[in-house]
């Protein structure tokens, strides 16, 4: 399966298993979503389970909260992460804190799915990666898969979670793994082991990172599209790098990450989002706290530049293999 099919399969299973699950969002019903993630679901489960909504992200999240309070498990789609901001107040002030402020009497187990990231020539309003501004808010779980197999298991876990989850889908990975080289012909997920997705129900637990490649020389901590870029960069340098896919930003599996860095003594953290106060800052601070005495070199950060995502300079903006390679070299050189 590609990532779209894997996500579709997760939604399909959950709609089938749990009558409280509803899918909602702009163009998700009859049309099946602008990226086709909800294709066929309305036909199968009906218009009362898979709802097209007015174009109002604040309204979508607010009504999803109300539905959740009344016993449903809404899976709301925000068409692009770049359009999540009209819902920001509902997410930050309401969704994230409802359990806390009502001492657990009210909860809102809402899942918000939203495509993120660049690489599709989407310009500044179809390319953003705003995970850090949600990870910064207490009370939200924040997830980003890097492959179809995880996407399905994590989405099921997110829907079943008793807490709200912001589920980011790196859209450049929808149809195939992407190693950061736009000039190479696209490859489908069928060429990748993680494109092997079981049809049946399964969960990938929230809060667990995955070591996607074991290595001894250096640890690369990353997530989303950058997992594939980092793999390619390490390979190009012939480094025996350990690559960790964070998968879940909140809660963060610092144990897995720290264990690796304590062993390798060197670390690069990488994401596509802007660098300043990005999630890489949290990663690098946490790693430093846990691994200071094992570190042989300063932790390097790879990220998008601190500018909006420009249409013309997509590949100069995107943290591609060369940016990762330079960081790896810096981390390897320093004593």
């Amino acid at each position: 399966m590609n990532m779209i099919q894997a996500l579709n399969s997760a939604l399909d299973l959950m709609l089938e298993r749990d009558s409280a699950v509803v899918v909602m969002g702009e163009d998700v019903g009859y049309y099946g979503g602008v990226f086709r993630v909800t294709d066929g679901l309305q036909r199968k489960y009906g218009e009362h389970r898979v709802l097209d909504t007015p174009i109002a992200e604040g309204g979508i999240v607010a009504t999803a909260i109300g539905m959740a309070v009344n016993g449903l498990k809404p899976v709301a789609e925000v068409q692009f992460a770049d359009y999540i901001y009209p819902a920001y107040d509902q997410i930050v002030s309401e969704l994230a804190r409802l359990r806390y402020r009502s001492a657990g009497e009210f909860t809102a187990p809402v899942t918000i799915r939203t495509p993120c990231g660049g690489g599709i020539r989407g310009g500044q309003t179809h390319s953003q990666s705003p995970e850090a501004i949600f990870a910064h808010v207490s009370g939200l779980k924040v997830v980003m898969p890097s492959n179809p197999c995880d996407a399905k298991g994590l989405l099921i876990a997110a829907i079943e979670a008793p807490d709200p989850v912001i589920f980011f889908e790196p859209k450049r990975l929808y149809n195939g793994p992407f190693d950061g080289d736009p000039d190479k012909p696209a490859v489908p997920w069928s060429t990748h082991p993680k494109g092997e997705v079981p049809d049946a129900y399964y969960r990938v637990p929230l809060g667990k990172a995955e070591v996607v490649r074991q290595g001894e020389q250096i640890t690369l901590v990353t997530y989303g599209t950058m997992v594939h870029v980092c793999e390619a960069a390490a390979r190009r340098l012939g480094l025996d790098a350990e690559i960790i896919d964070v998968r879940s930003m909140v809660p963060l599996d610092i144990e897995t990450i720290a264990a690796s860095v304590q062993r390798t003594g060197r670390c690069v953290v990488a994401h596509e989002a802007t660098r300043f106060a990005g999630f890489g800052a949290e990663l690098s601070a946490s790693i430093q706290e846990h691994c200071f005495w094992s570190l042989e070199a300063p932790i390097q950060r790879v990220a998008g530049w601190d500018t909006p995502y420009p249409h013309a300079f997509e590949w100069e903006y995107f943290p591609g293999q060369v940016r990762v390679m330079r960081a790896l070299e810096a981390a390897m050189e320093a004593q």
Binding site: E26, H48, D52, I55, P86, H126, T307, A312, V322
Partner: protein
């Protein structure tokens, strides 16, 4: 059986494979809606929100109180701008299909909205469009080459490579920067108008929002601020029936018109045949006069139809009948104005054909010039250093550092064999 609550799911009148059905559309006869005094009290204007202001009748004659009585020469200019908009759209769509530009959005069938409205306003009036009002640029005279260079993100791109195609701006032409985020411009236009009033100037603002995007909270913000301060602004809802795959019922248009939303806020609401050049012109003049004489804002619903796909990214055959547009009861704005001019004896098929080919030529030569300034794939290219400019007025040190890092990275990339 006991009555029980039910969740209503709006249904479009027809889906693919079904015959088009526009029986839901409430029409008035041309000339059938009275034209109140511009200073009439808002509470006396309710009927304007349910009628449909029309001027052109079935015989292609202009009738009734909203007839703006333009000179034939002006009508010909209007026809020219609408045709240019359409031909430009067609060609740019084709260049996208050929991979020369990354994305495009047409305004097929809606050309009268932006063209007649821009013509009815003054050059000093400030326009806050969405992405489907390219006709504004035609009327205000921005050279096509400039628009094309934006589409190409090339060395002459007004946006310096930062925006998706069609997200133009033009400060000296008084057209605001288009945002990819829906509805944001709507309340901003109100703020601009408030400032004009505060400064005692008589320029007004006009803004456009799709009926789909009118569901966003920003629509409410615009309405309430416009109402409270009686801001000199024209608030246009372009009801082209579709918002990507969702018909206007999903924005709340099933029971009341979008114009009728004005009433609840105490704002005059006016429902207009958006494919009738003369009606759009007449209605806009009326709204502009209200704004300029202190009578306050007007919400104008322009009833039209999105003739083409939403953008180059979707296929409307998946969600609406293929022949929907052909059956649209309000016809084609270009054809309607053309037939009116012919009926007046001021136009002919021959002149029309000549104009079409002249404008086609203009688009062709403009495109040749534009691609000379580069395309996304062929040079000359914009300098990537530009990416770091205009984030702030003065570049902070961390961006200076990143700019240097990018330069080093590009050298390293070349050394490492990257293309």
């Amino acid at each position: 059986m006991k009555p029980h609550s039910r969740l209503h799911i709006p249904q479009p009148p027809s889906r693919p494979g079904q015959p088009p059905d526009f029986s839901y559309l409430e029409l008035s006869a041309a000339g059938g809606v009275p034209r109140p005094d511009v200073n009439a009290r808002v509470r006396d204007l309710d009927f304007l929100a349910s009628g449909l202001v029309r001027v052109l009748d079935e015989q292609h004659q202009a009738v009734g109180p909203w007839h703006p009585h333009l000179e034939p020469a002006e009508l010909q200019v209007g026809l020219r701008h609408m045709l240019l908009t359409r031909i430009y759209d067609e060609r740019m769509q084709r260049t996208q299909r050929q991979g020369r530009i990354s994305f495009y959005m047409r305004s097929l069938g809606e050309e009268a909205v932006s063209v007649a409205q821009a013509m009815a306003l003054r050059p000093g009036d400030m326009l806050f469009p969405s992405y489907r009002q390219q006709g504004l640029y035609m009327v205000r005279g921005r050279p096509l080459v400039d628009l094309m260079c934006q589409l190409l993100s090339n060395t002459r791109d007004m946006c310096r490579g930062r925006q998706l195609p069609v997200m133009y701006h033009w400060a000296s032409g008084r057209i605001f920067s288009i945002s990819g985020n829906l509805a944001t411009q709507f309340p901003q236009a109100v703020g601009w108008a408030m400032a004009a009033a505060l400064k005692g100037e008589d320029d007004i603002a006009a803004t456009w929002i799709g009926e789909g995007a009118s569901a966003e909270a920003d629509f409410h913000h615009g309405m309430v601020f416009a109402a409270v301060y009686r801001a000199p602004v024209i608030l246009n809802v372009v009801n082209n029936q579709w918002a990507i795959s969702m018909f206007q019922g999903f924005a709340g248009g099933e029971n009341r018109s979008f114009a009728a939303r004005g009433l609840g806020y105490g704002v005059a609401g006016l429902r207009v045949d958006g494919n009738d050049f003369l009606a759009v012109y007449g209605a806009t003049r009326w709204a502009a006069e209200r704004a300029r004489t202190g009578a306050g804002p007007t919400l104008v619903e322009l009833v039209t139809y999105r003739g083409a796909a939403h953008s180059t990214s979707d296929d409307p055959a998946r969600y609406r009948p293929r022949d929907d547009y052909e059956r649209w009861p309000l016809g084609d704005p270009v054809e309607r104005l053309k037939k009116h001019l012919i009926a007046l004896g001021e136009w002919s098929e021959e002149r029309h054909a000549a104009l079409v080919s002249e404008l086609g030529q203009l688009v062709t030569t403009s495109w040749k010039t534009a691609v000379g300034f580069g395309t996304l794939t062929d040079g000359p290219h914009l300098d990537p250093d530009l990416m770091f400019e205009d984030v702030f007025e003065e570049m902070p040190a961390h961006l200076e550092r990143q700019r240097a890092e990018l330069a080093a990275e590009r050298r390293a990339g070349v050394a490492a064999g990257n293309t």
